[in-house]
């Protein structure tokens, strides 16, 4: 379970270009559920996901992961927590160009130092499951948009995260691929993974697998009780 208490994030604080991205959000997210954060550009969806995923610290407020307060953890602990607990799927995929599909998938696990054979076999099994086994040796720039996203998904899953975070995952996909993506997310949810998605794509927040939609605007929750599907 993830709990946010009065979380606030301000960029460029005290400067003329100060920007309040998240303005005091309190929220409880249940484990094993699929939650979608919905809202227009600049509503604070991405920043909220960054805060939950330990990518940045809140300016004020606290975040709890399974009852443990994580906002005050020293940086190395926060990094370790991030790579063992969360898997990220970025809007632009952010795969490393000129690097093979397999190496892209394995990259997040390198700092953990497990044996090469075990890591490679796990990466290959994810690629197999996502229908990309034949492309393992291919460079990522040769892939289609849908294939690139599935590589990004395999990469997000390589360290066995409890929480999968996806930011606008269908922004570069057609309707068919978007539905395929949501079907995959439904599978992962069934397997017990908590899924948090930021999106303003109706194909995402209207998908059957979605348990909850949280509406955001100007860094705040639109209503204290977000709609539960």
């Amino acid at each position: 379970m993830i709990e946010l208490s009065q979380v606030r994030k301000v960029f460029h604080a005290g400067r003329p270009n100060e920007h309040v991205a998240v303005a005091g959000v309190s929220l409880t997210l249940e484990a094993g559920r699929l939650t979608v954060f919905r809202g227009p550009s600049g509503s604070g969806k991405t920043t909220l996901l960054s805060l939950i995923g330990c990518m940045t610290r809140p300016t004020s407020g606290r975040i709890f992961l399974q009852g443990r307060e994580i906002t005050s953890l020293p940086l190395p602990f926060l990094t370790d927590l991030r790579r063992r607990t969360f898997g990220f799927i970025f809007q632009q995929f952010h795969l490393l160009a000129k690097v093979s599909v397999l190496e892209n998938v394995m990259l997040p696990a390198y700092p953990l130092g497990e044996s090469y054979s075990a890591l490679k076999s796990r990466a290959l099994s994810w690629l197999e499951r996502l229908g990309l086994a034949a492309k393992a040796a291919a460079k990522v720039e040769w892939l289609s948009g849908g294939e690139a996203q599935r590589v990004a998904i395999a990469r997000a899953l390589i360290n066995g995260p409890q929480v999968l975070i996806a930011d606008e995952p269908t922004a570069h996909l057609d309707s068919h691929l978007s539905q395929e993506f949501m079907a995959l997310m439904a599978d992962f949810k069934t397997a017990g993974t908590t899924i948090l998605i930021a999106s303003h794509d109706p194909l995402v927040h209207e998908a059957v697998a979605v348990d909850r939609v949280v509406d955001l605007r100007d860094g705040r929750l639109v209503s204290p009780e977000s709609r539960i599907c």
Binding site: T47, H94, L96, L107, P108, Y110, Y116
Partner: protein, 378 residues
């Protein structure tokens, strides 16, 4: 422990693959870097080996030479001086040497003409150094003519060419009988060019030299150590001249390397952001960049050093020899005994590998300090 080793292996593997992804830039850098190490190491190896070679040759030369001075210039020394030197305690042997310089207008070079003590050369015959043999196209049986002090031509038959192993010091040497040296230079009997003095106890050489100076104030004792120091100073001076010539190239390389290593491209910045977003720590990104810098600089160091070794000790340093070894028009041609001073190599390593590796880490440290969420927002 195994996890740490695996982690470093992953980082090294990924560093190699990253270098290969930017192979155009990195191969150019490696080429220039290796060339610089090659030049520096060549000068270093060559100077060191020359000094060592000279020291080995000088080890067989007299410990003490006594020359007579007349108003500060060298003068011929009477044989009677030898008798007086023999009276000094600690002196085991004194012998007179006959030698002089002869200018050969045909090859525009100075020869050192000498009557050897150990080798008997028949009259009207000579042994010549390999440099002279090359310059005058001489071989055993050829005739070599010198013009005597009185203008009379004197012909000598070449009995042999001196061994190439000693060519560093014998390239311009002509050995002939003592009587021939006297006739060629017009030296009267009872006079020598200088005297060599052998001392029983090598630790007493300086004391004996001081006694000679006291006994014969118009002479100058020259210690073997002084000659060695003169050679070393000459080689060091030449190496210094050469290095100052190359310092422009060194500076150009430093600017080039700094630009390539310190300036992270937009692509590299993006990659660092992605790695951090995926859970890499700042320290791990720095280790990755350390491996990249270390691979480039160590490869350049080893390639440059190996090429310099082959250049100096196998190919006899064709690029440096004219500047570093020549003290005459007759350049010695010889193969140096491989000798590498570990201290000098360590200095070379420190001044080439360390700055480059540091230059790759500093900008990464700045870029890697950024919060990973910037990737989310890009």
């Amino acid at each position: 422990m195994a996890r740490r080793l695996h982690k470093q292996r992953y980082l090294l593997d990924f560093a190699l693959s990253s270098l290969w992804r930017r192979k155009g830039k990195n191969l150019a850098l490696l080429g220039v870097y290796s060339l610089l190490v090659f030049v520096l190491a060549s000068v270093l190896f060559f100077t060191q080996a020359l000094k060592r070679e000279a020291a080995l040759v000088l080890a067989a030369s007299p410990e003490l030479i006594v020359q007579k001075l007349a108003a500060g210039r060298h003068d011929l020394i009477p044989a009677a001086y030898a008798e007086r030197l023999r009276e000094i305690r600690g002196v085991s042997r004194v012998s007179g040497r006959l030698w002089g310089y002869y200018y050969d207008a045909r090859v525009r070079a100075n020869y050192t003409v000498m009557a050897p003590e150990e080798v008997a050369v028949p009259e009207q015959a000579v042994l010549v150094g390999a440099g002279i043999a090359r310059g005058r196209h001489l071989s055993r049986g050829s005739t070599l003519t010198f013009q005597g002090y009185d203008g009379t031509p004197r012909a000598f038959q070449v009995r042999g060419v001196l061994s190439p192993e000693s060519e560093l010091l014998t390239a311009d040497l002509v050995l002939m009988a003592a009587a021939d040296v006297r006739r060629l230079f017009g030296l009267a009997e009872g006079l020598y060019t200088d005297l060599t003095v052998a001392v029983n106890n090598p630790r007493e050489v300086a004391t004996v030299a001081a006694k000679i100076q006291e006994l014969l104030p118009d002479t100058r004792p020259i210690l073997r150590d002084e000659i060695r120091r003169t050679y070393e100073a000459a080689f060091d001076w030449r190496a210094g001249i050469l290095l100052s010539v190359f310092s422009g190239a060194l500076l150009a390389f430093l600017i080039f390397a700094w630009d390539k290593a310190a300036g992270l491209s937009a692509e590299e910045r993006r990659e660092i952001g992605i790695l951090k977003a995926m859970g890499w720590e700042t320290g791990e990104v720095l280790q990755l960049k350390f491996w990249e810098g270390a691979v480039v600089s160590l490869t350049a160091f080893f390639m440059g050093t190996l090429a310099a070794y082959l250049h100096v000790f196998v190919a006899a340093a064709p690029l440096l020899a004219p500047v570093l070894q020549g003290w005459s028009v007759l350049y010695p041609r010889f193969r140096l005994t491989p000798f590498i001073g570990l201290f000098e190599v360590a200095i070379l390593f420190f001044f080439t590998v360390v700055p480059y590796t540091a230059a790759t880490i500093v900008p990464t440290w700045r870029a890697a300090g950024l919060e990973p969420d910037q990737v989310m927002r890009s």
